[in-house]
Subunit: 145 residues, 2 copies
Amino acid sequence: MGGLPHMKDPLVNLCGYVLRRASLCALAELNEGLAPLKLRHADVAMLMLVQSSPRITQSEAGRILDIKRANMVPFVARLEERGVIERQQLDGRSQALGLTRRGRMLLERALRVVDAHEALLLGRVPEKLRPVVLPVLLALWRRRP
Amino acid sequence: MGGLPHMKDPLVNLCGYVLRRASLCALAELNEGLAPLKLRHADVAMLMLVQSSPRITQSEAGRILDIKRANMVPFVARLEERGVIERQQLDGRSQALGLTRRGRMLLERALRVVDAHEALLLGRVPEKLRPVVLPVLLALWRRRP
DNA sequence: TATTGTTATACTCTATAACTATA
DNA sequence: TATAGTTATAGAGTATAACAATA
């Protein structure tokens, strides 16, 4: 991963560009930290979502995490095969997702990695600016207009 | 693209997560704006880099933009076939990249899209926070430790 | 009629290894 | 010996269209 802006990079004045580079860099670091748990960032997001919204459906989870229904199928299947998520028939078509005991234990470990990574990220920002990091990022996460 | 944080999203307190969602959202918007020019964000980054560092080599450009040498080959080839970039033998193995007249004209149009997108992004941030957006993002774009 | 889960498939981006020809 | 460009290939991640069963 490109872990530093390069001196000759003429794009470092563009928020969109730096936003992307920072995101890729942070993501790669997080995934490195999660590798020993054989998890990827998206897995942890899913586990966190299911924990906070027990009995959520697959489609609804996909809507929140912005993962297409069709792509949720192999994604959830992998977590289920691994025994961290379980499915329960809700009605004829929907299935409620829940964490297994094993899933809860794994998530607990993953959360320690995530928290450490968050601290790392924040630690790179000058102390004065730390309180505005999340507000700035949330403001950028918008669409139209 | 997920153009808004969802109410039930328990991850909106994580900088890393919001950083990624904001980045994907901004990128999708930029690419929409560039679509009429048949350009992708990476194409514009490349054109901007070549403009600011004329006679840069393919490898060096890849290093700055964090694109692997192997992936630069079809990438640059496409821009060359399109007549926006030209190659010039430097020595036996290196080739200098440069913008063609057509490339400069196309970049000019692309820059208007990029500038508008930048304004859009900044416009979403409360006025008070705008001056710190770039400093915050640059601070996050770091690695080790 | 709209929605859930599903299959199949394609496309983009990224990653690795190996080769060549130069420096 | 290290580097530039190249080829081939594999793997993520993401996108669309279509279908069955259900609400």
